[in-house]
C-alpha cells in the first residue's frame, strides 16, 4: 500500500467523516449502525484505492459506499424487529450528492443536544462528527478507554430511547441550541490549546478538530454572528500557537512571544470574521473574547498593547459572561494598565472565591505582580502555590524558571 493512498484516506477522514456518517445515519436511523458503515467505508477505501487508485472525489466515493452498506444492513434487518432507531425529520432522504450539509448540521445538533450531559456532548461530537477513535477521545480527556466507550454508548442509547430528534432545531430554539454547540466546540479547543496534563502544551488534533468544526458551522450558517464570533476567536488564538513554546521547549507567555511568528493569514481572517460578527448586535461572549484576542494580535509588541481597550472589553465580557475567570483576567488587565499595585488590589477580592481556590492562574498572576513590586517572599509563596496547582509540564517549567529568578532577586544585596 503506497503512502499516497494512506495520506488520501487520512485526508478524506479529516475532511469527510461527518458527511459520510451523517449520510449513513439518514439511512440507518441508528448512530451505531451508521458508525459501523462509515468505518467499513474507510477500511474499504484503503484496499480499493490501493488497487484502483484514489477516486477523483474521495468524499463522494466514501459516502456512496457507506450508504450502500447502510441500505444493505437495513434490508437485512428489516426481517427483524428494528432496534430503537434514530428519529429522522420527514424530508426526503438525499442522494449522495445533495443535502449532505444539512445532514452534517443534524448530526452536530443531535450530538450537542442539551438533554445530554456536557461530557457526553463532547465525547459524541469528537467521535461521531470529528471521527476521532474512542481511544483518542479517552486520551484527550484523561479517562480510560472502557470508561469513554461506556460514556459514548450510554449517550447513543439515550438519543435512541428518549428520542432526541435528528434534526436542525426550529427557528425559535436555534439561538440557544447554537450556543450549546459553540460551547462544545470551544471546550474542545481549550482542552487542546492548553492540554491539562502531559508533556505537550498543545494537543494539535483537538485544536484542529475544533477549528474544523467551527469552520463547518460557519460554512453552514454563514449569517450567524455567534458562529462567526467563535470561529474568529479560535483563529486569533491559534494564530499564536507557533510562538507559545520556545526552541528549548519552555512555555512562553504573551510578553515573551516572537510576534513575527504569529500567523498573519489567520489573524486577518479572524479580524474580518470578528468585524462582521460585531456589526450584528448584540455582541456575543465569544465575539468579545475574539475582540480581546484581536487587540493582542494587532499590537506589534507587548509594550504596545492597548490595556485600556482590553480592560474595557473585559468589562463588557463580565456583563455577558459573569465568571470568576473573567474577573481574574480583568484584574490582570487593570494591573497592566495601571501598574502592579492596582493589579494586586483588583485581584484581592478574588482570593476568597471558592471557584478559584484551586485555579493556578490566580496564584501565578499574583506572583507576577508581587515580583514586580519587589515583594520577593510573598512572590515566592505565590509561585509555589501556582506550581502545586498545575499538572502541565510546560507550565511547571515556566513557573520553576520564574521562581528561580525571584529567589535570585531576593538573595541579591
Amino acid at each position: 500500500m503506497t503512502e499516497d493512498v494512506v495520506a488520501a484516506v487520512a485526508e478524506a477522514h479529516r475532511r469527510d467523516w461527518s458527511r459520510v456518517l451523517a449520510c449513513a445515519a439518514q439511512v440507518t436511523r441508528d448512530l451505531d449502525l451508521a458508525e459501523e458503515c462509515t468505518q467499513d467505508a474507510y477500511e474499504q477505501a484503503l484496499h480499493t484505492w490501493a488497487r484502483d487508485g484514489v477516486p477523483d472525489r474521495p468524499g463522494a466515493w466514501l459516502t456512496s459506499v457507506a450508504r450502500n452498506r447502510a441500505l444493505d444492513l437495513r434490508r437485512r434487518e428489516e426481517r427483524f424487529r428494528r432496534r430503537m432507531p434514530l428519529l429522522v425529520a420527514e424530508d426526503p432522504a438525499p442522494g449522495p450528492e445533495d443535502g449532505l450539509d444539512d445532514d452534517r448540521l443534524r448530526l452536530i445538533f443531535t450530538c450537542c443536544h442539551p438533554a445530554l450531559s456536557g461530557e457526553a456532548r463532547i465525547a459524541l461530537t469528537l467521535r461521531l462528527v470529528c471521527g476521532l477513535s474512542t481511544a483518542e477521545v479517552a486520551r484527550a480527556f484523561l479517562v480510560s478507554e472502557p470508561t469513554m466507550a461506556a460514556r459514548i454508548t450510554r449517550a447513543k442509547k439515550k438519543i435512541a430511547t428518549a428520542r432526541i430528534p435528528y434534526r436542525v432545531p426550529a427557528a425559535d430554539d436555534l439561538a440557544e441550541r447554537v450556543g450549546a454547540v459553540l460551547d462544545v466546540v470551544h471546550l474542545i479547543f481549550t482542552t487542546g490549546h492548553t492540554a491539562p496534563a502531559g508533556p505537550r502544551l498543545i494537543r494539535r488534533d483537538l485544536v484542529d478538530s475544533a477549528i474544523d468544526l467551527a469552520r463547518t458551522l460557519h460554512l453552514l450558517m454563514p449569517t450567524d454572528a455567534a458562529v462567526s464570533g467563535l470561529l474568529a476567536l479560535l483563529l486569533l488564538i491559534d494564530a499564536r500557537s507557533g510562538s507559545r513554546v520556545s526552541a528549548d521547549g519552555r512555555m512562553l507567555l504573551l510578553p515573551e512571544q516572537d510576534r513575527t511568528r504569529w500567523d498573519g493569514g489567520l489573524i486577518a481572517e479572524g479580524v474580518a470574521l470578528l468585524t462582521d460578527a460585531l456589526r450584528r448586535r448584540p455582541p456575543t461572549r465569544y465575539a468579545v473574547e475574539a475582540a480581546i484576542a484581536a487587540v493582542h494580535a494587532e499590537a506589534a509588541t507587548w509594550a504596545d498593547t492597548d490595556w485600556a481597550e482590553i480592560a474595557a472589553l473585559y468589562d463588557v465580557l463580565r456583563g455577558l459572561w459573569p465568571s470568576p475567570v473573567v474577573e481574574l483576567n480583568r484584574a490582570v488587565a487593570i494591573g497592566l494598565r495601571d501598574g502592579p499595585a492596582a493589579g494586586l488590589d483588583a485581584l484581592a477580592p478574588l482570593l476568597d472565591d471558592p471557584a478559584l481556590a484551586t485555579y493556578g492562574y490566580l496564584s501565578a498572576a499574583r506572583a507576577d505582580f508581587l515580583r514586580r513590586l519587589g515583594r520577593w517572599d510573598e512572590a515566592i509563596d505565590a509561585y509555589e502555590e501556582a506550581l502545586a496547582l498545575t499538572d502541565s509540564e510546560k507550565e511547571r517549567s515556566f513557573l520553576l524558571g520564574r521562581l528561580a529568578d525571584t529567589r535570585d532577586s531576593r538573595s541579591r544585596p
Binding site: R29, R74, R82, P85, L87, V88, E90, P92, A93, H113, A115, T161, A162, R163, I164, P165, P169, D173
Partner: protein
C-alpha cells in the same frame, strides 16, 4: 418512505418533584396562579395528555418491600426519604424529546426554584 414505523408517538412520564414544605407554604393566590399555569399546559398539550394527577403529600405514603424472609413488610412513608418528593405526574404523548421538553416547560414547577420536572421515556413494548 421507510420512516413510517416511527411516525407513531412516544410516551413520556413527567414526574413533578419538589420540596413539600414550599408547596405547603403557598398562599391561596399562589395556588390559583399555579392552577392557571397547569390549565395553560393542559390547553396547549390537549389530547397529548394521556393522564395526570396531583398526589397527596408524601407523609401519607405507604411502602411495601420484601422482608427478607419471603414475606412483605409494610412501612410508613415514601420509598426514598428525600427532601424533594414526587408531587404529581402527567403521562404525555409526544413525537420526540424536543416536543416533550417544550410542553413540560409550561409547567409552573419548572420555574419555582425548589421544584422541577423529570421527563422519563416510557418503555415501548411489542
Amino acid at each position: 418512505m421507510y420512516l413510517d414505523e416511527r411516525r407513531d408517538m412516544a410516551k413520556y412520564m413527567l414526574l413533578i418533584q419538589g420540596d413539600p414544605r414550599q408547596w405547603d407554604a403557598m398562599t391561596p393566590d399562589q395556588w390559583t396562579a399555579h392552577g392557571a399555569a397547569h390549565g395553560a399546559f393542559s390547553a396547549e398539550a390537549g389530547a397529548r395528555i394521556l393522564g395526570g394527577e396531583q398526589l397527596e403529600t408524601a407523609t401519607t405514603a405507604t411502602t411495601l418491600r420484601a422482608d427478607g424472609a419471603g414475606g412483605v413488610v409494610t412501612t410508613d412513608g415514601p420509598f426514598l426519604e428525600t427532601k424533594e418528593v414526587l408531587g404529581g405526574f402527567y403521562l404525555l404523548e409526544a413525537a420526540d424529546l424536543d416536543e416533550a421538553i417544550k410542553l413540560a416547560s409550561l409547567l409552573p414547577e419548572v420555574r419555582a426554584g425548589h421544584s422541577g420536572v423529570e421527563i422519563r421515556p416510557v418503555v415501548e413494548h411489542g
